[in-house]
């Protein structure tokens, strides 16, 4: 059966995340959650950090979750998951639990790259078996679009606003996948909601990994990025095609590109559709756009080298 049909069949009419939540029109996060959970054959338990996904889906006394779900605080999803996963092994060892379960942790970029980094590092280092998913919308969206270390260079946010003296975020986005790889875990993947098939395949491989798995998934945010809700998946596709957001995985420390864009698509096509980059086009000066293109190209070359490919392979 085609993959999408397999995912649909697996739901049996009960989506892991159902409608009735308060996530924005066109939010990129829910389809990421569903795609990942539907790609995992065993029953799943979700551990969620504070953020848009957590707040909007669990307003007491409602819930949008059809799977067991726990949230404790903002910076500790990976630590809570460590406790849950250890309990699972302990209960199995003592014969108090039979079921095979898969643990999926969802944290936003804020709760993963920044405040949650320590707990994530500790959990990866100890080797707990779970799939950690960062749904990366590139800022602290739930609290009103503030900058995180995942925010791209030159993006405007409420705490790195563009103005006469500033051009938006001054720092390059942090390479969180490389940080995960540095822990020696069996599986790391960079994916995007826009390419559901690639995401689903990676979720499957992540769940099968015998140890921690980390997925960083680009999740568009109509409000925070400033684009029409309906364009979310198209925009995500552009992120991939412009090489702003390459799709790759790292298996036992070996990098592999999972999608090779065949055409060179200039970064303007990605930037131009989002209000958070509108200030880059306010006048005729394109030096920042050129700088962004230069950085994207440099990162791409480095990534290719890690994948044992060269720029020749990408022509």
């Amino acid at each position: 059966m085609a993959r999408i049909k397999t995912l649909a069949a697996r739901e049996r009419g009960v989506p892991p995340l159902r409608g009735g939540h308060a996530l924005c029109q066109g939010c990129g996060a829910p389809m990421i959650v569903r795609t990942i959970l539907d790609s995992i054959e065993t029953p799943t338990i979700v551990i969620n950090a504070t953020g848009c996904l957590e707040v909007a889906t669990t307003r007491y006394p409602t819930t949008a979750w059809n799977v067991p779900w726990i949230h404790v605080a903002f910076e500790n999803a990976a630590a809570v998951a460590s406790g849950v996963e250890t309990a699972y092994r302990a209960l199995h060892k003592r014969g108090r639990l039979d079921e095979t379960l898969t643990f999926v942790v969802f944290g936003g970029d804020g709760g993963t790259y920044d405040i949650g980094l320590q707990a994530l590092s500790g959990a990866l280092e100890r080797g707990h078996r779970f799939v950690y998913v960062c749904y990366d919308n590139e800022a602290y969206m739930n609290t009103g679009i503030q900058r995180s270390s995942a925010t791209p260079f030159a993006a405007t946010t409420t705490t790195t606003p563009a103005g006469s003296q500033a051009f938006g975020k001054a720092q390059q986005r942090k390479d969180i996948a490389a940080i995960a790889v540095a822990h020696g875990i069996p599986y790391v993947g960079q994916a995007a909601g826009a390419d559901w098939q690639d995401l689903s395949e990676k979720a499957e491989r992540a769940a099968a990994a015998e140890g921690p798995a980390f997925l960083n998934v680009l999740s568009d945010c109509p409000l925070g990025w400033g684009h029409e809700a309906r364009l979310g998946p198209r925009l995500g596709r552009l992120a991939i095609e412009t090489r702003f957001w390459p799709l790759y995985e790292v298996v036992d420390g070996w990098y592999r590109l999972t999608y090779m864009p065949r055409k060179h698509v200039p970064i303007e096509e990605w930037l131009g559709l989002q209000k958070r980059f509108a200030h880059l086009f306010a006048n005729d000066d394109r030096s920042l756009v050129a700088e962004i293109q230069r950085r994207v190209d440099a990162d791409w070359e480095r990534l290719l080298a890690r994948c044992a490919l060269s720029t020749a392979d990408s022509r």
Binding site: M1, I4, K5, L7, A8, A9, G13, P15, L17, R18, G19, G20, H21, A22, L23, Q25, G26, C27, G28, A29, P30, M31, R34, T35, T58, R59, Y60, P61, T62, T63, A64, W65, N66, W196, A229, R230, L231, G232, P233, R234
Partner: protein, 84 residues
């Protein structure tokens, strides 16, 4: 008696309607053009595409927020927004 610790039981929890978020009409499908590719289903942020088995059946208007992603992603232009 509510479960302690603000625990919510899925089977007893409410699932509030969010159809009222729509402002620009509701999606409707031209069944003759639909090829059951399920792209609308997988991209819908509100799980508002209802399937029968693995085939398109209907929209869940109680929860559809009118984001129009399904309209945008349908490869055969089988979905369009209709005024309410």
């Amino acid at each position: 008696m509510n479960p302690p610790g603000a625990i919510v039981l899925r089977d007893e929890a409410a699932q509030p309607p969010t159809g009222g978020w729509r402002t620009a009409g509701r999606p409707e499908a031209d069944r003759s053009r639909c090829i059951d590719c399920l792209l609308c289903w997988i991209f819908c942020p509100d799980s508002a595409i209802v399937l029968r088995g693995t085939r398109f059946a209907d929209f869940d208007y109680e929860h559809c927020k009118g984001c129009e992603i399904c309209v945008e992603m349908c490869p055969t232009d089988a979905i369009r927004m209709v005024a309410e």
